[in-house]
């Protein structure tokens, strides 16, 4: 608790600190490569034959996903707080790579926790993190995936709290993490709003993003919350809700308290956390950031899901029509676009958050298709 208080104070202080904000925005521009483009996907739009589709190109941010927005912000904050070490959890490896990158940039010791299963699935990212000077520690307990890596990072943090900052990768966990991560990610929506006004001269009709913990979705949606725009979060439907092998917390979960926050949770009748499944490691998580149920209950965001097969189809479709291979996570958002755009008029505008690039998934997809590389 004292650590959370300390973090909360440091974070709110940094928001008022002109020097800190100046350094952050300088690095966003010169290091991350912001603003990322808002790209009109002409051939994808024509193929679907409905609404105009714009892609917010977070895949073009340094390290290949939106994760760097938050990791860099928190790394700067950790340095400012006088911590000498940062730790993080990672599932697919994107947040681990982003944290290792942020730590290398500001000069902090870095340790990343990753489940044994995920280390096997994402061997390339494990090597990338090590290359960046991070120690990658295997988590061989529980389901050996993201939630267990978070448990282990939290255990490390309680043990080394005096010297260490925990860079949580999504809008989850105890306060102030959900607010802080949203704040660092909200740059996505702020840029998109300006960009769409510049190109279309008006706001979009739809915003669509995938939702694991929910940071890229909140990042895009936050600047538009008061605009009355239809916003859709897409969860991982895995092999289908009825099979039980999915990570759709709204469709298949109920209210619970997990890893320091109260939100929707996939759990059994006794309050134990259920295993999840998704083709995409970044969405393969039993709970969801607590602001999502809040915004859903207020009627501001709707949630749906896309299955593994639908995401894989969208992954290939965007590659073929646009020459852009999306991360499997982002492919879930695109799958919803595929379902929705053809039913809309050509005057309507959709912005979809292309939260990451798909290079990391190429081997995995080949394996699923039975292709030997």
């Amino acid at each position: 608790m004292p650590a959370l208080k300390e973090l909360e104070e440091a974070f709110f202080q940094s928001k008022k600190d002109k020097e800190f904000q100046k350094e952050l925005s300088h690095l966003q521009k010169t290091y991350i490569g912001r603003p990322t483009p808002l790209y009109f996907a002409r051939r994808f739009t024509e193929y679907l034959g409905g609404a105009k589709i714009y892609l917010k190109r977070e895949d073009l941010a340094h390290t290949g996903a939106h994760k760097i927005n938050n990791a860099l912000g928190q790394a700067l904050l950790a340095k400012k707080m006088g911590k000498r070490r940062v730790i993080a959890e990672t599932g697919a490896g994107q947040h681990g790579v982003a944290t290792a990158t942020g730590a290398a940039l500001v000069g902090l010791e870095c340790e990343i926790y990753m489940g044994t299963e995920d280390m096997k699935r994402q061997a390339l990212n494990v090597f990338r993190m090590r290359l960046l000077g991070a120690k990658v520690t295997e988590v061989p307990v529980g389901s050996q995936t993201l939630k267990d890596a978070i448990n282990e990072a939290l255990r490390d943090w309680t043990t080394n709290v005096r010297t260490t900052h925990y860079i949580l990768g999504t809008v989850f966990g105890p306060h102030p993490f959900p607010v802080m991560v949203r704040d660092f990610q909200s740059v996505i929506g702020k840029e998109a709003k300006k960009q769409i006004l510049d190109t279309e001269g008006r706001l979009p009709d739809y915003l669509i993003a995938c939702v694991g913990g929910g940071s890229n979705a909140i990042g895009l949606f936050h600047a538009f919350l008061k605009e009355g725009i239809k916003m859709i979060g897409v969860e991982a439907g895995g092999e289908g809700i009825e099979t039980g092998r999915h990570a759709a917390r709204f469709a298949g979960g109920s209210l619970g308290v997990f890893q320091g926050c109260k939100s929707y949770l996939l759990q059994d009748d006794d309050g134990n956390v259920l295993g999840t499944h998704s083709v995409s490691a970044g969405l393969d998580y039993a709970s969801i950031g607590p602001e999502h149920p809040y915004l859903r209950d207020k009627g501001l965001i709707q949630y749906t899901y896309a299955t593994d097969d639908e995401a894989l189809a969208a992954f290939e479709l965007l590659s073929r029509t646009e020459g852009i291979t999306p991360a499997l996570e982002s492919a879930h958002a695109l799958a919803e676009v595929v379902k929705r755009a053809p039913k809309l008029s050509q005057k309507e505008v959709i912005i979809v958050n292309l939260s990451g690039r798909g290079d990391k998934d190429v081997q995995h997809v080949a394996r699923i298709k039975g292709i030997k590389l």
Binding site: P2, V141, G142, N160, G256
Partner: protein, 259 residues
């Protein structure tokens, strides 16, 4: 109504003695075996039993108790079954029982139902390591109605403000976590426990039991000298799993060390 836990600490204090509080994971490896263990440790002179409730994501626990938790889950043990187990246990023993459970199973059970069923079954207190007193208002209110003791935790990093809050919310005893970290961490006997326990005593006269990291009789003895009770968990769970035949001798050595 004074609880069995408070009664126990009161009696010990009169005699100038300290509480020995062994921890076990309920249902590791089966609930039948846990019943035998409770009987054995009571015979060996334990004052209070802390019973772990298995959970899929035991955040505050080190590898030893994580594995015990997995074994108990595999044996099908749930919070509901642990409560029924205590009810059954009450036919043979009146030793105070404190449950250590994570919050989500309690939340799912329903706080009021949990408090009522636990109390009816003969559970005396509850420790929920991932529920700080700040978030425990409704649980505390339900517990006070039935006099189920709520035990909260303090750590070496706790501020005076925190100590006051935890002391106020705790009933039965205050659990002082002797290390920053998880169960089964290494204990440092450098006088810091004594300093912090006396810091806590400035704000409260409730009993203070110390746990996390106590493993040898020597450590137990040192800790008992500066507190009102000693909790030993991981070291017992480890022996029970790896060399159950030595367990009784070890329990006796701890009991003799804590005086």
């Amino acid at each position: 109504m004074i609880s069995r836990i408070r009664e126990t600490f009161k009696e010990l204090k009169k005699k100038g003695k300290k509480a020995f509080i062994p921890y076990f994971m309920a249902g590791d490896p089966s609930l039948e075996s846990t019943k035998d263990i409770v009987q054995m440790i009571e015979e060996c002179g334990a004052d209070i039993v802390e019973l772990g409730v298995p959970f899929t994501d035991p955040l505050a626990d080190g590898p030893t108790i994580q594995r015990a938790s997995e074994r108990a889950l595999n044996a099908g043990v749930t919070l509901k079954k642990v409560i029924a187990f205590v009810k059954n246990l009450r036919q043979n023993t009146q030793i105070p029982v404190v449950l250590m459970t994570y919050y989500n199973p309690v939340f799912k059970y329903g706080e009021e139902h949990f408090v009522r069923d636990a109390k009816d079954a003969g559970v005396d207190g509850v420790i929920i390591p991932d529920l700080p007193p700040d978030e425990a208002g409704s649980l505390i209110r339900s517990s006070r109605k039935t006099s189920l003791d709520t035990v909260f935790l303090l750590a070496p990093t706790s501020t005076p403000e925190r100590i006051k809050k935890v002391a106020k919310a705790s009933r039965g005893f205050i659990y002082y976590v002797s290390v920053t970290g998880i169960t089964g961490s290494r204990l440092l006997l450098d006088g810091s426990i004594e300093t912090l326990v006396s810091e806590i005593r400035k704000y409260t006269d409730k009993p203070i039991a110390v746990g996390f990291g106590v493993s040898t009789p020597e450590e137990a003895s040192a800790v008992s000298k500066v507190s009102d009770g000693v909790i030993v968990g991981s070291a017992i769970v480890k022996r029970l799993h790896e060399s159950p035949d030595d367990l009784k001798r070890y329990i006796i050595s701890l009991r003799e060390a804590i005086q």
